[in-house]
Subunit: 241 residues, 2 copies
């Protein structure tokens, strides 16, 4: 539709990373909202978009299917899943537990420098989202990345790769350009988000395992509630057919 992006250009290095690249790119397009919730993914269209044949596209779609991001109906093609609010709450309850574990594990491993990194990332996220609120034209996905960075950092500090992967699996189930929007549009949400992050960092810095876990758990649950609420209001209207 837009133009032939020529998937081969990007990372042509190691043989058949092509399928994984395709899956990654399609996932990104869904995450950023470029491909909206409920949209149909026609293989032929994607194929011509990326300048490849349908074969690797089909395999990429299978990957996204097992990830739970899209739904493949028998002979009717694939659609971007429209998460039900209760699904979001369920998933974020799991994610809360996992991130709490990550925070708890991080307490005994985090360094002074990493604490500074966290504070920097949090501040940066606050600033960029505030800037995006002022000037909607600068709608870079920077604040989204910075928001994620905070959580990504902690989960990586936890030193458990499986934990990181599991959290990521949950996150990549829901198109989350949405949650970034929340932080941008609503100043109160932005402020609360910042403060919650700060409290988590404080607990980490103080070496208070239980507190770090508790703050993180509550923070994630709250974020999940907001995301669920967003879907509740818009889920019936967003998907175009």
């Amino acid at each position: 539709m837009t133009q032939t992006t020529d998937a081969l250009t990007s990372s042509n290095k190691s043989g058949s990373a092509l399928v994984d690249d395709l899956a990654s790119q399609i996932r990104d397009r869904i995450m950023t909202g470029e491909i909206p919730i409920g949209a149909q993914l026609r293989q032929a269209e994607l194929a011509s978009n990326f300048g490849v044949s349908r074969t690797p596209i089909r395999e990429a779609l299978r990957q996204l299917q097992t990830g739970g991001l899209i739904e493949v109906l028998p002979h009717r093609g694939a659609v971007v899943r429209v998460p039900a609010p209760w699904e979001v709450r369920e998933s974020y309850e799991v994610r809360a537990e996992l991130e709490a574990l990550a925070a708890a594990r991080a307490v005994s491993r985090i360094t002074r420098a990493q604490i500074d990194d966290l504070r920097g990332a949090n501040k940066e996220m606050f600033d960029t989202s505030a800037a995006a609120a002022q000037d909607p034209a600068s709608d870079t996905p920077a604040h989204q990345q910075n928001n994620d960075l905070f959580h990504t950092l902690i989960s990586s500090i936890s030193g458990n790769a499986r934990l990181t992967k599991t959290i990521d699996d949950i996150n990549t189930t829901f198109p989350r350009n949405v949650s970034a929007q929340l932080v941008v549009t609503d100043a109160r949400h932005r402020e609360e988000n910042f403060q919650e992050h700060e409290r988590i960092i404080d607990a980490l810095a103080a070496g208070d395992t239980a507190q770090a876990a508790k703050e993180m758990r509550e923070h994630v649950i709250k974020a999940g509630e907001q995301l669920a609420h967003w879907y509740e209001q818009r889920s019936s209207t967003v998907f175009h057919g």
Copy 2:
């Protein structure tokens, strides 16, 4: 190789569940050990085995790849992943947390009848694995299924589908015919396993949330330790080339 299983026979009902069926069947063969750790999965062989062409096989393999059960190397085919012991420990730490959450959630939802079901499943598992220890000829995967059933029941009682799925994702990463073997071969392990399950049930019955979570967490960690230990001893020898 063995014979053309004719994948179409099983569940030919709804259009293209074929790929999912194939993935499921291949996964089962890996889980049961019919396809051993480290074995190569040649597409042509699988295709003729199941009586289909390579195309759906390739898509099925992609699903297993994202699940993490197999590893697909660029032009060298797919192999069943040989989990490193530290991966097992990491994963089981995550699983322990998740199952602890499941147990905690189950406390307020479990019914008297379900408690009886749990006790029945536990007893049955103990008996079948004891029987398998006496008579290795009756090496049905029954004890394996009963072992899983205990955990599956609790996770389903927890009433969080995402939680159940996440736990299952972790479990289906490791071929686990192994862990069943442990319970069968070693009488002490079998007895301990039974007792640990009983303590979990007791906590559930008593409505003691913290205790249920704690017992479950320790139980899973212990199981993970045993599984990791098994891999530690055999990982270098099992895979055939």
